[in-house]
Structures are given as C-alpha cells and as structure tokens.
Symmetry: C2
Subunit: 418 residues, 2 copies
C-alpha cells in the first residue's frame, strides 16, 4: 500500500504568515492530535523542516507533511474537511503508507465521545444537504456526470459498476468480483425468466443488462444522472437488450406499475433518512404479492454524519445509515427483512482495486482535469478504503419481502450452490 506522492509538483507558498518557527502551543496541539488518534506510528513533517512525533516510538509508517502554517490551523479546527482541501491543493501531503495513515486518523476521530463539544461541532458543520427532488438532481449531477470517460479509466471494464463488488473467491479480479456481485444479488432476489425487475438508481445500467441477458428478466431502471442513462441506453442497444430494458431518466419516487423484484444498489446513500418511509411506500406500492427486494448500501454501526470533506467535495447529500435507520424503510410499509449481509471488507478490496487502476491512469486524469482533481480523488478512494478497513463504514445488503409472504425461501443454501 505504499503510495508515491512525489510525481506532483507541490505549490510552495512563499509567505507563512509571519514566523517560520512553530510555537510551543502549535507543537502541543499537534501532539494532542496524535494523542486523540491513540498515538499511531505517524509523524508530522512541518514547513520548518521540523518533525513531530507523539508517544509512539515505533518507526512511523507515514509522515503527514504540512507545508504551510495556515494548513496546520485548518487541520486543528476541522481535521475532516480542511485537511481534505489542503491535501487536494498540495499544502498537505502524505509520505509512506497512505491508506494505513488515513486508517489511523479515522479510528482516532471515530473514538471521540459523541457528546464532546468537538463531536457536536463536527456534526453541525457536517449536516447533510436535503434531498428534495430538485436537490437530488443537483447532488447527483455533481458526482455522476463528471464524465463517463473518467470512471471508465478505473472501474471494472465489464459492467462499470461504481458499487461494492463481491469477492466470492479472494483472488478475484475486480471484473470477476463485480459480476459475482450481480449474480449474488440475482440469487438473493431469486430472479426468474420473465420477471419484471425495477431498479432504483441504476448507475451505468450494468445490473439491468446482466439481469436481462443472464436471467431473462425485463428491467425498468431509474436514474437521475443524464450521462449515465445515455451511456446505459447505448450499451443496451449495442448488446441487443433494448427490447427488455427501459432506462428511465427519473426519480425513484415516480415509479409506478408492478414488479416482481425491486433492487437498489448504491442509491440509498443519496436518499436521506427523512425519505426512507417514502421509499418504503414506493416499494410497497410497486412490489407485487410474492415479490422480493434487495437494497445494497453503505452504512454505519452507529449514527454519524458522512465525512465532511467527502460530503462537501465528492458526494453532496450523501449519508450512510445505520441498520436501525434503514429499518424506517420497512417498518411502516409492512415489509419484512429476510436477510442482512455485511460486506464491509469487500468494499475495502473493491476500493483497493479501483485505486490501483486509478494510480495507473493519473497522468491521463490530470490532463482531463488537473492535479488537484487527481489528489482529491486519491484522497477520496484511499480514505474510503481506510473507512471500510477500520469499520467506520459498513456495506449492508438487505433482502425483504411483503410481511405476509410465506413463499420466501426457507434457507439461504441456494445462494451458495456452485
């Protein structure tokens, strides 16, 4: 997991706002930050050339390079948000093990007592944006309409799935694991030839094409990202599946009609907890008697806002819910949860594979956007991997059916037949 950062020319700032030396207070605050994080084997390397260590005497796995006094101040005020921006701008850097370093920091921030003033303040500035119909469109546009070319450079080449893969065997490639995920989901749903499947939030439409091609399903797939829907429609046409797939450029709340299977992979993060009962009502309304559904989403062990920097710069409006919060989808809508699987470590592995491919394409990505964009996405991918590795984030697959349906499978044995 060594991360070479040397290829990017850092903008050195000439003025450091007065003194070049650091004060005793600054030193104590940095030591305090390491102490809050449980004294990890991490060093600070400052613009003065000075090194700061905490209590940990082991050789550091990483050095956090702070190139300006102003970046140090921002880090102390809000380590989540501003360090992300300063890293993107090259005012903060990481030398050594990138993901391991982030993992230590995330563990430390996660260990803050929930009632501490700092935690309350972080919650306030990190409050997620509302997902009204219009707000959802704007939030989704900012992330998913970056350009299909960009995502094509580092996602799996088969189905371009921007969600957690399933490593049925540990040595799978990202392509194999993404197909395995689609098959795992199809088995959990018990998709049969002729089934009508509704999909909420279909990305580039890979699940719909896989279900149509390999399971004989008819799919109506909803998405509010124009670029993704255009891509998905073209791909379906190319594969001769456009008679069995309808990609609908619309919000899941506008679903009507009837389906045998309801599936949503990686949309719930953008729905907002306040809309979960509405989602439940939509599902209840469209899911035929005897139907089955699956929601696949990033989650949490306990309520906490999205990492502020990711929410602000990468995923506006995103919120990973706890299982208890997710139950608001089902409780009011007479739906019954049949099965929950936590795939946290599969997402860590997925992100590792994405990040490796991303790093092979940084030259191209920098020419498409700029260096700041590359560093922003490096931090996002590495930070997400660290979050799943440390248990700050979870990945839940939840299978459900109407509460009174007694034709559900008795065991999960059928999921694991080879």
């Amino acid at each position: 997991m060594d991360q070479k950062e040397g290829h990017f020319q850092i903008a050195q700032s000439a003025a450091h706002g007065g003194r070049a030396e650091i004060s005793g207070l600054e030193r104590r605050l940095l030591e305090g930050l390491l102490s809050v994080c449980g004294d990890p084997p991490i060093a600070f390397s400052l613009w003065t050339g000075e090194q700061i260590r905490g209590q940990n005497q082991d050789p550091p796995v990483a050095r956090i390079v702070i190139r300006e006094r102003s970046a140090l101040f921002r880090m102390l005020v809000n380590p989540e948000l501003f360090t992300g921006d300063d890293y993107s701008a090259g005012r903060v850097d990481v030398e050594g093990e990138f993901v391991a370093c982030l993992a230590y920091i995330f563990r430390g921030l996660d260990s803050l007592p929930e009632t501490s003033l700092k935690a309350k303040f972080l919650r306030w500035i990190n409050r997620p944006r509302a997902n009204t119909l219009a707000g959802s469109r704007e939030n989704i546009h900012r992330h998913y309409d970056l350009g299909n070319e960009f995502y094509r450079l580092w996602l799996d080449r088969e189905r371009m799935q921007y969600t957690c893969a399933y490593y049925a065997q540990p040595d799978m490639t990202i392509e194999q694991a993404q197909i395995a995920k689609l098959d795992h989901v199809a088995r959990k749903l018990g998709v049969q030839p002729g089934d009508v499947v509704y999909e909420a939030g279909c990305g580039w439409g890979g699940l719909a094409r896989h279900f149509a091609k390999h399971y004989g399903a008819t799919v109506r797939a909803f998405n509010i990202s124009e670029e993704q829907v255009r891509f998905a429609r073209e791909a379906a046409k190319r594969e001769g599946l456009d008679d069995r797939i309808e990609y609908v450029l619309d919000d899941y709340r506008n679903m009507t009609g009837r389906c045998d299977r309801f599936v949503s992979v990686g949309m719930l993060e953008h729905v907002g907890v306040e809309n979960y009962p509405v989602l439940g009502e939509v599902i209840r309304g469209v899911l035929a008697p005897g139907g089955r559904g699956l929601i696949h989403s990033i989650g949490r062990n306990r309520p906490a806002p999205m990492n502020a920097w990711i929410e602000k710069r990468i995923f506006p409006g995103a919120y990973p819910a706890t299982l208890a919060e997710m139950m608001r989808i089902f409780e009011g809508s007479r739906l019954s949860v049949l099965d929950v699987e936590n795939l946290r470590l599969h997402y860590a592995q997925t992100l590792k594979h994405w990040r490796e491919r991303f790093e092979q394409n940084t030259g191209r990505i920098a020419s498409m956007y700029d260096e700041r964009f590359v560093r922003m996405w490096r931090l996002y991918l590495g930070g997400s991997e660290a979050s799943f590795l440390t248990g700050a984030l979870q990945l839940f697959q939840v299978v459900f059916a109407h509460a009174t349906d007694n034709a559900v499978p008795m065991t999960r044995h059928h999921l694991y037949r080879s």
Copy 2:
C-alpha cells in the same frame, strides 16, 4: 390442522345475566369484529344456538363458540387478553381449523391503525413488566420452572430446546431440526476446539453440551431458572461433559471474564428494550478481540407489545423487539452486525411439531395440571404458530463482532458446505 376440542367437558353456566336472546347491538358488534378482521371465513356460534357470519360467504374454516354472554362482552373489550382466559376456561371454544382461525384474527388485529384509540388502549393494558434483576427472576420462574417433566413431553427428545429449530431440509423431524439449529449457530459463530463460549440464557443446557461434545468448546452457560440449571448440570455429568461446562445460576448482567464466542438463544425476549445497551456493554466487556457473537430472538417487523394474554398468562415480561430496537444492543458498544437471518417460518414449523406432540400427551398433562392448563397451552402454541405464519412475529439470528475486527469471514459460504 383440524383441532378436536370435544374431549373437554365445558362448564356450562346456568345464568346468562338475564336475557338468553342476543340483542341487535351485540349482533352488530360481532359482525363489526369480523369486519375489522377483514371478513374471514369464520363464524360465531352463540350460547343461544345462533350463528353469526360476516360478509364472507365461503364455508367457514372454523366456528368460534361463545358459551356465555359475559365472554362476549370481554371479547369485545379486549379480544387479546380475555378471549385467552375464556378459551382456557372453556367459555370460548374453536371448532374446525384452530391455527387458521387464530391466524385470521391476528391478521385482523395487526391491521388496526397504530393511532386508533383501540390500539392505544391495547398498548396501555399490554405494557410489559420491568425486567429488574429481581423482576426477571420472578418472570422467568413462572414460565420455565413449570416442571421439566412437562416440557419433556413435547419438546425434542435429544436436547430439549425450547427455541426455534432450523429445518435445513424441509422433512426434518423436530429432533433433527433442533440439532441442525445448534450446528447452524456453531457455524455462524465459527466455534473452534478450545474456544471459550459464554451463553446467556441456556435453557436446559442443550447448546452448551452440543458445543462441548461436538465442537470441543468450553462453555459457561448462564440461566436464572433453578429447575433448568439443575437439569442441565445433571445432564452434563451424565454425558461426562461437566469438566468442560459450567452452568451458572445467575443473571447475564453478572458475566465476567473473557470468551471467544458469545451466544444467546431465546433470552432477548425477556431482556426488555431498556436493558439492551446494558447487554451490549456486557458483551463488549467479555468478548475477546477477534471474538464473535450471535443473538437468536423472536422479533417484530414494527414495534408492538407482546400479545397481552401471552404476556400476562404465559410469558410475563416478554417483548419481541424489532431489528431497529435490537440494534440498541450494538450501536453503543462498537459492535458490528455481520449477518441477520430471519427464520420466521422455521418457528411456525417448530411450533407445529411441538403442538402435534403436545396433543398426543394432553391426557397426561391434564393429570399433572388440569384441563384449563391444557387449553391455555393449546392456545399459546397454536397462537404462536399463527403469529409466525401471519408475519406478526419474526425470528432473527444476528451475528456480530467487534467493529474493528478484520478477521471475520468474507462470505457465508462455509455455513452451507455439506
């Protein structure tokens, strides 16, 4: 599922409190009760000899026989609680399909809007009793210390497990399915030879003996029922397992030391939601790093009190929690949910097997207790079966580990190897 009720001499009451004829109001109230229940194919047969039907014109699957006007009044005031007592006393009877009849009624009561005055009143009279340490002892004593001989007459003969079995194959006997349950739980926990297993609420100790004998585990099993613990200790001695099992007559809240695996099958129903964070803290305190846990409990799709009659007469202090409520165990204790499986229909099948064996032994049970006891338990077993069949009750197995544990299994494939 035909249920013959004719073998019990019903106490006919001489005085009906005045008129023998039923009034127009009484008739409309009974028709209203059928209407609330969605007009099932059920008839009322009254002490006057009169039959009352709702809108449903199909041949009735069952007749609810009301032998006294006072029983009718009680049914209209609180159908859950008083009908149970009147059934036990023989003032109310069911002719025809017993479980199907109960299932119709439960579905009807379940469909009451939560905000209706009736629902609020039912919630108030049904409020569960507090599970203080002393309260728990009294509540548990009333149910589990009825006498081991009684339970031996109808539970599985191998391990006397008074919890949901696991029908890995649909044609399993209750004995096979209860052993399959223990193996399913052991696989989910990943029990290895030499592991220290703590069990909270061990019943007659069958899980502990199975884990010690077949998985080489050392088990400390807690229970506050004296009769059960005495039975369990004798059984362990008889099987030569007493060097590897310690049955502790104590509350789970007094657990100390360290375990590799934590398991609790059928205790959570008696814990009380207000104590879930305490249970979580107990687990966090005893579970070693790298340890794993499983909680197996009756649950609900949405919050509702326990059936009032069962709570009052059979299971004092019992409450089936929703998954969201169960999460209070884990959220505050940095535990991560890995897997949830809903075994609702396995419990319906378990209850069917229990009930069949119970009915083969009613003569013996009546001589040990009395006819009222037999009828009370018939209603309890049949009512529980109907609750699982209608989705009024669920059965959740929840697997968890410390939030930072990355040595958890990547997939659930190992659970389904033959």
